[in-house]
């Protein structure tokens, strides 16, 4: 897939020598904290030790045992908050570069065609539908296939991979990595049907007839509206990133770009604008640096990219000149008492309007809740699909995993992968007690 060179994968692969040196630094902790911190609990000292002993096949297989999407996770995981953040060498020394070592092992697996090992000898005769080919769906589908179940994944988009393909900036994960990973999952016996929208091309009733279980891994929706005048002129951040990855021809980047929002997605949008030629990129946020929802390392990355910040500013309308974007009208904000999120509530100060000049405004303020939930009559929690400990929704036999159930905690790829894995195990337990139809 063609990506603009300015957005090519940022970190080079480790050379064999670098990997050996880094792997050798790992202490091989027992009941290691890095493994605890990893949401999929990859046995990190074990896979690293195998790199040190040049048993790369064993290393890759160790990763697969816990995480089928190790290649994506190696690149996109916020390791500072997870494994590397918990490394015992972190406090006084440099933590082990776990993510990059994982990538080293996964690159080897890709080059050698090493696949995860089957967990069942025979086909079970069970058929399971997975809706959505993002990380949660692919992980669940792969785990189920390895256990001998017949899995069909329905994906409405043309390409599999979910946000790994369409949403995560290529700087972190090139599209090909996500697509190759989806192919690897297919090779485990998973049937992947793209450009099929669940609810339209296939209905829930049809699915319930054909399958023993249905897994919803539909992710979240588009960017919500800001509800301000001139909204039509604002570019959707998710579409912006998507174009930078798979639709370079449709991507227009302004010279003076304003990004509304201060989460990781907003940083990604700002980075794209900056790297693809914007002279000035300003991130506009209602609260202050302290309340930003992006990871601290992302904030520092943004600063190093030369991105500017306007805190305590609330968008109030788009200024248009000759039908073209000319600026963002904002109100000054004061912080009040803590709100439901525990952060100080922003209060716009009346009459404090000011304008930030811009020829392009991009909004990156989260994603809409899964719309399919209400369509299917599934119970929700804070707008997300409500599930039991076993990932079963309010409708028996219908499960849900990934971002669409993440009513608390931050949504990330690796959490989606773990959901898929745990749900697969739960579904298998459930199906084991039911009769084959």
């Amino acid at each position: 897939m063609e990506t603009h060179p300015a957005l090519a994968e940022q970190l080079p692969p480790l050379s064999a020598h670098e990997a050996a040196v880094e792997a050798d630094r790992c202490l091989f902790c027992y009941d290691a904290p890095c493994t605890h911190a990893c949401p999929t609990h990859i046995d990190i000292p074990r896979f690293i030790k195998k790199i040190a002993t040049k048993n790369l096949r064993g290393s890759a297989e160790t990763i697969y045992t816990a995480n089928l999407l190790g290649a994506t996770c190696a690149r996109v995981c916020p390791v500072q908050e997870l494994c590397e953040g918990a490394c015992v060498l972190g406090s006084e020394h440099k933590p082990i570069a776990i993510g990059r070592l994982q990538r080293y092992a996964m690159d080897y697996a890709k080059a050698k065609g090493i696949k995860p090992r089957a967990k069942a000898l025979r086909a079970s005769g069970r058929r399971i539908a997975v809706i959505g080919a993002g990380p949660a769906g692919l992980s669940c589908a792969g785990e189920l296939a390895l256990r001998g179940h017949a899995v069909t994944v329905f994906e409405k988009r043309e390409l599999a991979g979910g946000l790994s393909t369409y949403g995560i900036i290529a700087l972190r994960e090139p599209v090909d990595v996500a697509l190759d990973e989806a192919k690897m999952i297919e090779s485990l016996g998973v049937e992947l049907k793209t450009s099929v929208e669940f609810g339209k091309e296939i209905t829930i009733e049809e699915a319930r007839k054909q399958f023993d279980a249905i897994v919803m891994s539909v992710g979240l929706g588009a960017t919500p509206a800001l509800g301000i005048a001139g909204e039509e002129a604002i570019v959707d951040g998710l579409a912006y990133i998507e174009a930078s990855k798979v639709g370079a021809a449709n991507l227009h980047v302004g010279r003076n770009v304003v990004v509304v929002g201060a989460g990781n997605t907003a940083v990604d949008c700002a980075t794209i604008a900056r790297r693809l030629g914007a002279e000035r990129v300003t991130m506009v946020y209602r609260r202050t640096q302290r309340e930003m929802t992006c990871y601290e390392h992302e904030y520092h990355f943004a600063l190093s990219e030369g991105i500017e910040f306007r805190f305590l500013s609330q968008p109030a309308g788009v200024i248009l000149r000759d039908g073209k974007t000319a600026g963002l009208k904002c109100l000054r904000v004061e912080l009040g008492e803590p709100d439901a999120s525990g952060r100080p509530a922003p209060k716009a100060v009346a009459g404090s309007e000011f304008v930030i000049e811009a020829d392009q405004i991009v909004k990156a303020v989260g994603q809409q809740k899964p719309s399919l939930a209400s369509l299917l009559g599934l119970k929700t929690a804070k707008g997300y699909i409500a599930v039991s400990e076993d990932f079963e929704t309010s409708v028996a036999g219908v499960y849900a995993v990934g971002d669409c159930i993440r009513s608390h905690g931050s949504a990330s790829t690796v959490m989606a992968v773990e959901d898929g894995k745990l749900a697969a195990a739960a579904i298998e337990r459930k199906l084991a007690t039911a009769e084959v139809r």
Binding site: R25, L27, Y30, D31, P33, H36, E81, L82
Partner: protein, 461 residues
């Protein structure tokens, strides 16, 4: 400033550090540079019978990022013509009158051959001769080197031939490839040698190439045992050195010992001195880093001596020898237990798994709430650095059950984190020897042993 000068049986040098007979002393030009760098002496690369060397003659043992913890070689004695070596030895000695120039020699096991080489070495003006009874490969197949060093009678016989002719000090260099190093040393003493040196290299094979299944290094598809030296052999060398120092006959002879085998730092050097060496030789560390290491060898040794109040090298030599003892004399009532400094501990749990799997299962994991917990107790849904670090248990030694084996201490990757603390055992001092003499039945019968333990309060779970 400590005085580092030595007088080794008449061989004087400004510091105790000599380059061992090996590649670093292969030629006059090299030794000139070494002396410029500050080396106190050099034992010339062994001269003698004609030889031919092979390529890929050095193998090595590496560990992780640390390169060359030991070298392994199938190099023979000097492959430069005898005439050239002798000429250069004379030149070096003339140019460096204050340095020790010792010539290592190895010739056919015939008195005429030895007499001839001794005469020619003495003609160069060299300060001493070292008899190479150690080379473990190539030369030994021709009846020289370790073929001599391994048979005390040959060692004695040849040394006698040499002593008949030699007018300058003769050092007998011992091979470690022998069960009891004391035997050849006694033979050398009996033959009238002036000094001893040890150790030469140890028989070894460094490895097998897993692609080709050939030995590493591969010499045209073949390989064989080669001599092992460098930091990894130091403990073996120290043991052999102390075996000589504690042997009655050898120590009564008063023969000085030139110690070597794994010296890489001044700390190693000080340890060799403390165990009885009065001159020191270095090879592998120089092959690894060059002549420049002499600076810190001298500087570090001198600073340490100042700190300890040692004025001369002689003051240091043998100071730890009286500590060398045997199991039967150890105090069985001595007790130490491991203690973990929680402020330094990084909670890697390496001590825990070592003690739990292979020692005495007496390190507990203490959860943040103070309860004893087990490894891998977290819920599968628990994750993130905060939960992982905040709920991580702290290893703690159950001192009443700790036998003080010291395994955890050795395993811990953090300096000074685990300490072996001496604890009164409440028992009376007794050695195995005393026990055998006074209560023989305890040492011969398990039931009596159990009674004895109950009586004095020894509990091993």
């Amino acid at each position: 400033m400590a005085d580092l000068r030595i007088d080794f049986e008449g061989i004087k040098s400004p510091n105790p550090f000599w380059l061992a007979s090996a590649p670093p002393t292969n030629s006059g030009a090299q030794i000139h540079r070494a002396f410029e760098a500050g080396w106190g002496g050099a034992v010339w690369k062994t001269i003698g019978a004609p030889v031919l060397n092979v390529s890929n003659r050095y193998g090595a043992w590496h560990s992780g990022r640390r390169r060359m913890l030991a070298i392994n070689n199938v190099e023979l004695i000097s492959d430069r013509p005898l005439e050239i070596n002798l000429k250069e030895i004379a030149e070096v000695k003339r140019a460096w009158p204050d340095r020790a120039v010792i010539v290592s020699a190895m010739v056919e096991s015939k008195p005429e051959a030895w007499h001839e080489i001794i005469r020619r070495i003495e003609d160069t003006g060299a300060d001493g001769i070292e008899l190479n009874y150690g080379c473990p490969h190539g030369m030994s197949e021709r009846g020289m080197g370790s073929a001599v060093g391994q048979v005390p009678e040959y060692c004695e016989q040849i040394t006698r031939w040499v002593m008949d002719a030699a007018k300058i000090p003769v050092i007998v260099k011992l091979t470690p490839n022998i069960t009891n190093i004391v035997m050849p040393a006694r033979a050398a003493v009996a033959a009238g040698a002036n000094a001893l040196s040890l150790i030469n290299t140890i028989n070894s094979i460094v490895g097998v190439d897993l692609d080709t299944l050939e030995l590493t290094p591969s010499i045209g598809g073949k390989g064989g045992h080669g001599g092992y030296a460098g930091p990894a052999v130091k403990p073996i060398a120290l043991n052999m050195l102390s075996a000589l120092g504690t042997d009655e006959m050898v120590s009564r002879s008063g023969l000085p010992i030139s110690g070597m085998g794994g010296i890489a730092t001044w700390e190693d050097a000080a340890q060799f001195l403390l165990l009885g060496a009065s001159s020191l030789q270095v090879c592998t560390a120089v092959m690894h880093h060059g002549y420049r290491i002499i600076e810190d060898l001298c500087d570090g040794l001198s600073n340490w001596m100042d700190e300890k109040g040692f004025a001369t090298i002689t003051d240091v030599v043998g100071q730890s020898l009286h500590r060398v003892s045997e199991f039967k004399h150890f105090d069985l009532a001595f007790r130490a237990v491991a203690r973990i400094d929680e402020a330094k501990c990084i909670q890697c749990n390496l001590c825990y798994v070592a003690c739990n799997d292979t020692a005495h299962q007496c390190i507990d994991l203490i959860a943040p709430d103070g309860s004893v917990t087990q490894p891998y107790m977290y819920d599968v849904r628990s994750n993130g650095k905060q939960e992982a670090t905040e709920t991580r248990p702290q290893p703690q030694v159950r001192e009443e059950d700790c036998v003080g084996c010291r395994l955890c201490y050795n395993v811990c990757p953090v300096a000074e984190c685990i300490e072996m603390v001496e604890e009164p055992s409440g028992r009376e001092s007794v050695t195995w020897n005393e026990l055998t003499a006074n209560r023989r039945e305890v040492t011969e019968d398990w039931a009596r042993m159990q009674e004895y333990r109950a009586q004095v309060g020894i509990e091993i779970h």
